[in-house]
Subunit: 284 residues, 4 copies
């Protein structure tokens, strides 16, 4: 398939490479240039919109708005193109994208992904796909290259974005839960590795707890996924909660904590650096 | 071994039965009487303090204080007795128990357990054991009957209590995390079973998320572990945080939420009924 | 001056009556009809937009949007008309109104007011006025009728809305502060009237504390200003905080508390009924 | 009257000086020595316990415990002595002091005060007095020297402590309320002095808002009353809330905020420096 890629951050590069390896004809655009084996670089986003499909992996609403929407480029895309947005964007912006693509005669699939760059490299992302069934079907061969599993989030694209935001919110809550638990246990003499040994082998033996307990244990906050991005996603969650007319107390707590993390100068550290606010370096 | 049991709630009964089955000579006392196969009922807690060891499974600090401490019964216990307290009690009270047992010439082990009554029945609890090594060794044959695994929490008994409190705190956080995520996703059209399907098979595939997502999915809040007990444990966590001179934002959020749950008349429901405050019955 | 009034709730009625008494030629529209002494009722909002100025006192963004904007009525207003919006609306919507009025060749003043209906009756409201100086000057004779004092909030209309939202947020914080203080003092044996006597005569002797301590003291939650409206205003504050990229912990606390108040069925009570969640009826 | 003073911080010095000026025979002890006009310095706290009354103005529970209780000095005090504790101490410790004084045959009055050192200098503190009526009457001539007004908090000493803690909690809430309001209004273009002008002249024209808006306006966080002491008092409030079995959301928010203030290195600044976390320096 002839497929465009817009955005070559760590995630976008991995997707582009995997699509090329799988035999697709990939044309990629990136604001700051770059190159990927087997991929043709193009000079303008418009050039990436002339194939059968395009995958956008830009960082947020604003990046998509300024690269693709403000410039009116959607109007110059190939009619019938399926635009797969894999970024974590707001529910409200996703709703706006539904309307904009309809006006431009394009098809839009929201397909945010779960997984860090190492998982993207292996093509084993979990893809949360939402959109009109024909559009999702059209995109499926591509999604199956980038993802190990495609989760059907229904026929409304924004539903997939809400699900992704909720997942990221839950990860930050798991991080903070471990941090607060470590505060209580270390204050009473239990080294954090002993505590983590218990919870990982009993109640909380899942991937998110494994990954982030390890980072907290070693005070290793190399990103990974940056705290600034985590803060953005919690902001999206707070916006979605306000839209739903709800006050969610734990979301609020963790949103405030991530904001403090960024304000404390750790915006470029892994989002799990939020734990450092509570636990400090290992003390036992 | 000649072993006493104090307290025959669902957990205490299961432990007593398993100890009797394992061939120990078990004498049990319970405030409201009762009987357990193979177990001799005694008329006063003092009668349960005359063996090699005694296991106490009363509901909280106050129950232990009024049954065993206020009455001065520890002074009448057999010298050298190992007292294993499996209840979830406060760190401060556990510290007090260390001193009281020392004064009375007794040995004290804190051994709070992870697991609900069905796990206790099978003798597969996770036991968090803290205390002087000789006392823990003395109690080990009993702990191995009630537990599938014994976790060494160190030589200070209160450390084990802190660990247990932290675990229960983390479970309430997992419950509330799922509830808040469901609010965001259902408000955007995703049925909760679809969302749980994603998280249980990707980031959060552990026992606590499995058990409680199922309860939330079916709005099934039969206890299990009652909200009033959950509230007590979060109170213990808040006390431990204050003692440590720390304000833990997510603990505060979930403590407030559990208090609301009890105030809303759901104190006798399962502690996961806290989720009902946010999610309501399934709407999709 | 020929002046229209849109919206005849308790506040709008008082303003209309005072403007008529002051000799202005007042034409009023209200969705559910009604009449006010000395005021001409008109059949459509458009009829109220043909004078020198119009005052809108509808309950919220949505009411204004559906009554005046969605219908395209602004395009039918008399050119040069000054539109004074005295409602508490969102900062974002106020910004949108700036643009819409400019497009329609109209002038827009944001003039939210501080004061309950009894203060409006006396024409002693505090008016927070923001907008282009010529527009504010044009409206001043009207503002001086409805208000005891006009506060200059600068040349951007939305600034006045932010100020009003902040004031209402602060009132809810004063209410909750008194409620939480009463929890601590009554739990330790001090009747609430004794505590209020201290604070009103020392640190907190201002109008907001006087009014709401009296309501809390007598558990008298007759509105006044309804909890549903208080919740709306806290939602506007939360939206403004998110827009500013900030997490404000006390706003979050009070927003959650007001949401609980409405969920507990007290939406039609005075917003100070929020205190009832904490303090209950007098117990001493 | 022959009266002892224990503790010569800014508050204690002002009280000692005023009592001496009023003609009382004042003997003072201070851990780090010092001198006050007209006051006799003594070498041990015990020497200050031999008169008709003693006023203690130490910083917290621990200071009183280590200076007077741990050393067993109460047993060496003159029988019938009235001990007036003007410090802000915990409700629990005040309850303990009731028992300790009874055992030692002494009389105990809790008389925490409202007012900063400049008010203490003028002898115009507000005194919240609780205790047995005969003890309070005995102390009244002294309280009338240090205070402009004596507020009767009832016959239980700890009630007065709860009231003081609640007052200080409310002040921190007023500070944070102003800070959060400034965040919203400055983000929308309103200089803080304009906003404060509105609220001080309308809804919030009381002493606490006047004093602290001025500090926020000028980013002047010279103490005054230090953030570390504010944090202590909020800790006492949180303990009292836990004792009362209540979760108070706004207390939690402000307690967390004050903890952040101290963690950010501002513990020796005025407690209103908490506002700096939110508002930063004036930006408009």
């Amino acid at each position: 398939m002839e497929v465009g890629i817009i955005g070559l951050g760590a995630m976008g590069r991995a997707m582009a490479r995997n699509l090329a390896r799988a035999g697709h004809d990939v044309k990629a655009w990136n604001r700051s240039g770059g190159s990927v084996d087997g991929v043709t670089m193009v000079a303008s986003p418009v050039d990436a919109l002339q194939g059968d499909a395009v995958l956008t992996m830009l960082s947020d609403d604003d990046a998509i708005r300024s690269s693709l929407i403000a410039s009116g480029m959607l109007a110059q895309a190939k009619r019938g193109l399926v635009h797969v947005v894999t970024s974590t964007i707001s529910v409200a912006f996703s709703r706006e994208l539904v309307a904009l693509h309809e006006q431009a005669g394009l098809r839009y699939v929201a397909a945010p992904v779960l997984g860090r760059p190492d998982v993207a490299e292996k093509g084993e992302l979990n893809v949360l796909a939402g959109g009109a069934p024909d559009a999702v079907e059209h995109a499926r061969p591509l999604l199956e290259v980038i993802g190990g599993r495609i989760w059907d989030m229904g026929i409304e694209a924004p539903t997939a974005n809400a699900a992704k935001i909720a997942c990221n919110m839950m990860i930050t809550m798991a991080i903070e839960a471990m941090a607060e638990a470590v505060v209580l246990t270390e204050a009473n003499g239990l080294p954090r590795e002993r505590f983590f040994d218990v919870i990982l082998n009993t109640l909380f033996g899942s991937r998110s707890y494994q990954v982030y307990s390890s980072k907290i244990m070693h005070s290793d906050y190399e990103p990974g996924f940056k705290a600034t991005l985590g803060l953005k996603d919690l902001r999206l969650a707070s916006e979605a909660a306000l839209e739903a007319g709800r006050v969610l107390p734990m979301l609020t707590a963790v949103h405030g904590r991530m904001a403090e993390t960024v304000e404390a100068g750790m915006g470029d550290r892994d989002w799990s650096a939020m734990a450092a606010l509570s636990v400090g370096p290992p003390t036992l």
